[in-house]
């Protein structure tokens, strides 16, 4: 990522289509975590990969103007606090992490009480955390390149 403009025109056109598809797929895997394989961790990594796809095709500035570093850390902390809050909510019923929200019938989308909310909390935390690791690793490239050009 030494030039700020990103890749060629064909890659940019195709990226505009595929990024939304990957995002939709990640959200589907998270929401159906209690019915089909997947869950919060795989969905969070897929969302982080879709944002990385955007950064790789358009250069660093295009993604960072929508989602700068302060906002990413707010989203990640929100996910962690939500997970802890759901656990403490179980204390009202008896012990830690008790399933207090009413459960529906099996095979419904809104069944099984606490599991859907936990999946959402983990999805926010994992997605935002992994994207911020990637941004930290790719910004640090700049001093190395300018040193090489000075020589």
């Amino acid at each position: 990522m030494s030039e700020a403009k990103g890749m060629s025109l064909i890659v940019k056109r195709i990226t505009k289509i595929t990024v939304s598809l990957i995002f939709l797929f990640g959200v589907y895997i998270v929401l159906h975590g209690h019915l089909t394989p997947g869950g919060g961790f795989a969905g969070g990594v897929i969302i982080a990969l879709s944002f990385i796809h955007l950064v790789l095709a358009f250069g660093k500035e295009a993604a960072l103007e929508k989602l700068n570093e302060t906002r990413i850390s707010i989203i990640e902390s929100l996910g962690g606090l939500m997970f802890l809050g759901i656990g403490l909510l179980g204390l009202l019923g008896g012990y830690f992490f008790l399933n207090v929200i009413p459960k529906g019938r099996p095979f419904d989308l809104f069944s099984s009480g606490i599991i859907v909310l936990c999946n959402l909390a983990i999805f926010l935390k994992v997605g935002a955390g992994l994207f911020s690791i990637f941004i930290a690793l790719s910004i640090m490239r700049m001093p190395l390149d300018s040193e090489k050009e000075k020589k």
Partner: protein, 112 residues
């Protein structure tokens, strides 16, 4: 029985790579191979021949499932492995910036 032995051979290759190679990136590769071997070994322990995946589907009430408990534990372990790899790569990148080499003998000699 043969699958267990091959899995342990993969783990032994990982240990050998971690002990002998001098490059930092090769040591990270060796740790990655060890992680894969351990995750595979746990899932091999929980397999039941002729069994199905532990996900129930509408109408089909089967009785023959594989063990779901090792799968839940290894799911956690895979994501932890990713976090550890990311931290190791960050430290390696900082070391390269400061000493301009990945060789551990050179880094020990140049210290400071």
């Amino acid at each position: 029985m043969l699958s267990y032995v091959l899995c342990l051979v993969l783990f032994a290759i990982g240990i050998y790579c971690l002990l002998v190679k001098k490059n930092l990136i090769k040591k990270i590769v060796g740790l990655g191979i060890m992680e894969y071997a351990i995750n595979l070994f746990f899932i091999l322990l929980g397999y039941r021949s002729g069994g199905e995946a532990p996900i129930l589907s509408k109408g089909a009430v089967g009785n023959n499932f594989v063990d779901p408990l090792p799968q839940a534990l290894i799911l956690t372990s895979i994501v932890i492995g990713l976090g550890v790899t990311a931290l190791m790569v960050a430290i390696a990148v900082r070391l390269y910036e400061k000493y301009r080499t990945f060789d551990i003998n050179e880094i020990r000699r140049l210290k400071g």
